[in-house]
Symmetry: C2
Subunit: 309 residues, 2 copies
Amino acid sequence: MTAAHTVAVLGAGNLGAPIAYRLGFFGHRVTSYDISDDAVAAARTRMHKIAENYVRDLEDVDKHQADKVPDKIRMTTSLAEAAQGADFIIEAAPENLEVKRATYAQLAPQLEEKTVLLTNTSLLLPSDMMDATGRPEKFLAYHFANTIHLRNIVEIMPTRETDPEVTDAVVDFARTLGMKPIRLHREHAGYVINSLFSTWMRHARDLWVKGVADIETIDDVAEVIASGPDLRPFYAQDRIGFNVSYNVNKVRAAEGDAAAAEYCRRIKEDFMDKGHIGIESGEGFYIYDDERRPIRLSDAAHKHYEPID
Amino acid sequence: MTAAHTVAVLGAGNLGAPIAYRLGFFGHRVTSYDISDDAVAAARTRMHKIAENYVRDLEDVDKHQADKVPDKIRMTTSLAEAAQGADFIIEAAPENLEVKRATYAQLAPQLEEKTVLLTNTSLLLPSDMMDATGRPEKFLAYHFANTIHLRNIVEIMPTRETDPEVTDAVVDFARTLGMKPIRLHREHAGYVINSLFSTWMRHARDLWVKGVADIETIDDVAEVIASGPDLRPFYAQDRIGFNVSYNVNKVRAAEGDAAAAEYCRRIKEDFMDKGHIGIESGEGFYIYDDERRPIRLSDAAHKHYEPID
C-alpha cells in the first residue's frame, strides 16, 4: 500500500467507529475521539464487533489480523490529542449543524497547517459549516455509506471554497481505504446516493398513501425493477432510446421544467443531431459493441456543460 | 394448465407480438390482429424471432415447441374475426388516445357479451377511454413489462367502473400466462413500475443537468444502490427505522406535504405507538425472525386506509 497517513476520527458511534476501524484495517495511524470515557469504552467494544463482521462477511480476511485492528487504534477524549499530527480529520459528530460547528470552532486553533478536515455529514451541506473550520480551502464533505465494509464507496463533495488539489488528494486517500471515490462537482443535499434513494422512497410512500397499491406489491415491483439492467439511469436511457425521452422531456419543458429543457437541448445538439440515439444506433451516453454491450462512455458524455440551478 | 381461453391481441408490433406469442406459448387460442397485410406479415417474422429469444434466454424451453407457437396463432386484419368468441381482447394499439378510442368504438358493436377488454397502454389512463368501449364494467388496463419473457409481471389497473369480479378474473388469467399479477387499486399514470422508474430517471437527469456529478458516476452510484437490499422501499423503511422517517416526513408535512402528513399519521398510530418501529423491534411493515429476516407482512401493513388525493 501507499504511505500510511495519520488520521483522526471525531465521534466513535455507529458512523465513526466503522470508519476508524477501516482506516486501521488499511494500515493508517488512527486516533478515535469521542467526548466521554464511556463513549470511548463503548467504541472499543463496537470495533471488536466490526472485526467479527469483516471476518464473517468478507473473503480473504485473516481473523487474527482483523482482531488486532481495534488495539492499534488510539482512543482519546482529548481533541488536542486527536488533532496532533493529523493529515486528515474525519468528523462524524452528531448530525446537528450547531454541534458540528461548535466542534470545528473548538478544533480550529489546535490544527496543524497541513490538516485536511472532512465532514461525514449525511444531510447537511459543508458550506454551512466551512467558516467555523477556519480553513475552508482544506475542508469538504466525505460521506461513507452505511455498512462500509459491504458498500465501499465514499462520496466526495467539495464546496466552492475547497482547493481542487485538496479534493484530488482525498480522492487518492479514499483509494488507500479500498473505497471507490464518488466525486461530486457541486454541493447537493443528500449527495447522489441519498438524494436518489430518498426520491425513490418518497414516491413509494406516495403510491401507498394514495391507495394505488399495497405495501408488498410496491416492494415486489421495486425488486423487479432493481433486478433488471435498467437501474443505471443513463444506460437505461440508451436502452430506451433518446427519441422517447426527448419527447417526454419536451412536454415537461413546455410545462416549465427548466431541467427538462436543458436535458432536451443537450441530448438533441450533442447526440441526436449526430445520429447517436442510444444502443440502437451503437452510441448514446455509452458506446456499444456489435452485441449491444457497453464498451465505454462516449466522448459527448464527457462534455463539460454549464450547470443550471 | 387451466382451461384455454380464446384471446385476441390488437396490434402486432413490438408490444403486441410478444403478448400474442406468450398467450400461444401457454396454450391459449390466439388471434393476432393488425391493420394491414404488411403489418401481419411482419408480425409473423417477429414472432419467430421471439421464439428464438425464449429458447436462448429461458431454461426448460423446448426449441421444437417454441418454434411451433407462431404457426398456431391466427393472424387477421379483420376486427370482426378478432372479436369472434373472444374471452379477452388485449389492445396494444399505438399509444395515442384518439387511435385507441377509435379502435374501441369500431370494436364495440362486434363484441360478444362475455368479452373482457384489456388495454396495454403505458402512459394513458383507462378511464380516458372507457366510455368508447361501451362496457366500462368489463374494461381495465393490463400492462405488460417490456421483454415479458424476462420480466414476467403484468400490472392490472381497474377504473372506478370496472366490476371487481372482472378484475379477479384477469388476475387469474395472468397466472395462466406465467405472469405475476401486480394489482393496483386505483388509477395512476405510469402504474407502479413506470412511475417509480421515471421518478428515478428524472432525478438522475437533474443531478447531471445541475452539474452535481458525471454520467458514469451517477450510473455507478445507482448500481450500488440497486445491488443492496434497500430497493424494496418498505423493507428499507423497516431497516432504517420508523423514527428517522417519521422525523423527516414530519418536517415535510410542516412544509405542506399532505402525503408526508398522512404517512406520519399512519406509521405513528398503527406502528410506532405499538412499539413497532422496524427490524430493530422485530416488526415494522414486515415481521422478522431472530436473525432479522423478514417472515411475512405485518397485520398492520394489511390495514385498509382511506387514500388521499
